[in-house]
Amino acid sequence: MTDIVLKSRLAKRPIQEPTAWDRLKVNKNWLGLWFMVPAAAILILFLAYPLGLGVWLSFTDAKIGRSGVFVGLENYEWLWDDSTFLLSVFNTILYTTVASVIKFAVGLYLALLLNERLPFKAILRAVVLIPFIVPTVLSAIAFWWIFDPQFSIISWSLKKMGLITTNIDFLGDVWNARWSVIFANIWRGVPFVAITLLAGLQTVSPSLYEAATIDGATPWQRFRFITYPLLTPIIAVVMTFSVLFTFTDFQLIWVMTRGGPVNATHLMATLSYQRAIIGGSLGEGAAISTAMIPFLLAAILVSWFGLQRRKWQQGESND
């Protein structure tokens, strides 16, 4: 029976030399090109091109509805003498540093706690992540209400406890507003740090801790000489992401304070929105955005070397 099948096949399809088209159809580079087209089209049209355009816009005096002419470094010179811009740089650095450090500390602590033997561990882990799931804007509105100058539940509770006598003006006072938005950012960022670090912790073998305990290591020594070194690579990556997203934050500030009071909480991102979209000076706004790029590059470099380090630690070659 197989003979018959074979014979009929052979009769139907004589052996032929593959044509150029056949060769092309299995050519990896040709196929790869077509597979990449949809992603590449979107990323080039809506990411790479605007990125370049943004740098170009920062050298022009473009306004909304009017394409500008090349003005060289004028926008940057202008910004250099602009106290609001300098204040926003200060705010951004303060916001990023304080929030990232606390997010890391609390996140790591929470991860260590969740790594213990606990009842309902899965549910706890799921609940911890909820602040990260809920859209930032919506939780920012909740914080706006919690930080209300007159009807803040925090002020009320502190007054009932007899700790303060007048309401705290959370978002109306310069430093109060800064700490309030930093708190909201930490609140939102801790779950991300904690859950990703927890995933890293779960890969650490318990036998290492058992061996160290037998050798008489204290809990601090176990953390310092086992957990921390094994966790370093993932910490590098998580913190790079965290710093990156904190540095370029927009939503939280925009909802809670719009950069006020007296520009005290303006970050570079919110200031660029205000100048470019509300004020209409696209060129100046683009210059503020472009000024964020050096910081971004620094974060990317840290992340890159963090990843490299992870590979050789696992004994893999760098591919």
């Binding site: 990323l43 990411l47 706690l113 859209p135 609140w187 998580v238 939503q251």
Partner: protein, 309 residues
């Protein structure tokens, strides 16, 4: 502490079974800590952190069902509980504002952008990992870099681009720009998943005469379904969460998404607006929380996978 230890030693069988490699639910070293100690070092801090993390949601939900007279009066009524909840705010939100329309917009934009991104990412990830065309590694690196470009430095030039393409103030402005955030992420995630699928399966299919397209749709995709779900959930959440593009590219109220509409259209001078604002925030988060509740594992693996790869 000692009790547990004595009990263990007095029962040699238990010691033997305990030392055998078991599931992760084994006691480990935690028997070294006594209960009071665990209370102070573990449950207490955990409880405090959880309370802080969850309080805003409780406050949100409570405010959205409080009657007006209790909303601002903390003295006569206890602020932390209400005995006569009302659906007035939610009713007002759903039937007297455009809120359902905004929900539909958000849902539509998030679904379309996610579907588009996943389709593009599957092809790109497969090509990078398995076709290994010339320069695939460099393209993979470039996509990772694209992941690190934040929307807040792109929105100004993008607004002029969107205007040039004639997309300004249409849902397409968002459906086409959200993938710039989603594609790098989901490509990176799917690359990780595709790498775990044995190459031998594909070789067999190739020998049997399958084309690359057939291999992708009939072998790789069915095996990568958990990865696809992870990518889908995470992308959907990101879309729902996105704010700055939606704020910049959409100006008419009927096309707005929930986060933008709440901030721009729902905020008015009314003292009692907090009720409907909180209701809006709560209803806007619910779809995501429900989705998340069903796919926690996928979501976590997406989040940690993107970092670990």
């Amino acid at each position: 502490m000692t009790d547990a230890f004595v009990q263990k030693v007095s029962d040699p069988k238990a010691v033997l079974t305990a030392s055998a490699p078991g599931p992760d639910s084994s006691e480990g070293m935690s028997y070294l800590d006594s209960l009071p100690r665990r209370l102070v070092t573990l449950y207490l801090p955990l409880g405090i952190i959880l309370a802080v993390l969850l309080f805003p949601f409780y406050w949100m939900a409570l405010t959205s069902v409080k009657p007006d007279e209790q909303l601002l009066d903390f003295e006569t009524y206890s602020p932390f509980w209400t005995w006569n909840p009302t659906f007035k705010h939610i009713y007002k939100l759903l039937f007297e504002t455009d809120y359902p329309l905004w929900l539909m917009n958000t849902m539509l934009i998030a679904t379309c952008a996610t579907a588009l991104s996943i389709a593009a990412s599957v092809l790109a990830a497969y090509a990078i990992v398995r076709l290994r065309y010339k320069g695939a590694q460099w393209v993979g690196g470039a996509i990772f870099l694209a992941y690190l470009v934040p929307p807040s430095i792109l929105f100004i030039p993008l607004s002029t681009v969107v205007f040039q393409y004639g997309l300004f103030d249409t849902p397409f402005a968002l459906i086409l720009t959200y993938p710039t955030i989603l594609i790098p992420f989901s490509t990176w995630l799917l690359m990780g998943y595709f790498k775990t699928i044995p190459f031998e399966l594909e070789e067999c299919a190739l020998i049997d005469g399958a084309s690359r397209w057939q291999i992708l749709t009939k072998i790789v995709l069915p095996l990568a379904i958990p990865g696809l779900i992870s990518a889908f959930i995470f992308c959907f959440t990101l879309c729902w969460n996105e704010f700055i593009y939606a704020l910049t590219f959409i100006s008419s109220t009927q096309y707005k998404t929930v986060p933008v509409a709440i901030v721009t259209a729902l905020v008015d001078g009314d003292v009692y607006r907090w009720g409907s604002l909180m209701a809006g925030a709560m209803i806007g988060s619910l779809p995501l929380v429900i989705l998340y509740a069903f796919f926690v594992e996928h979501y976590v693996s997406a989040m940690t996978g993107a970092v670990k790869e």
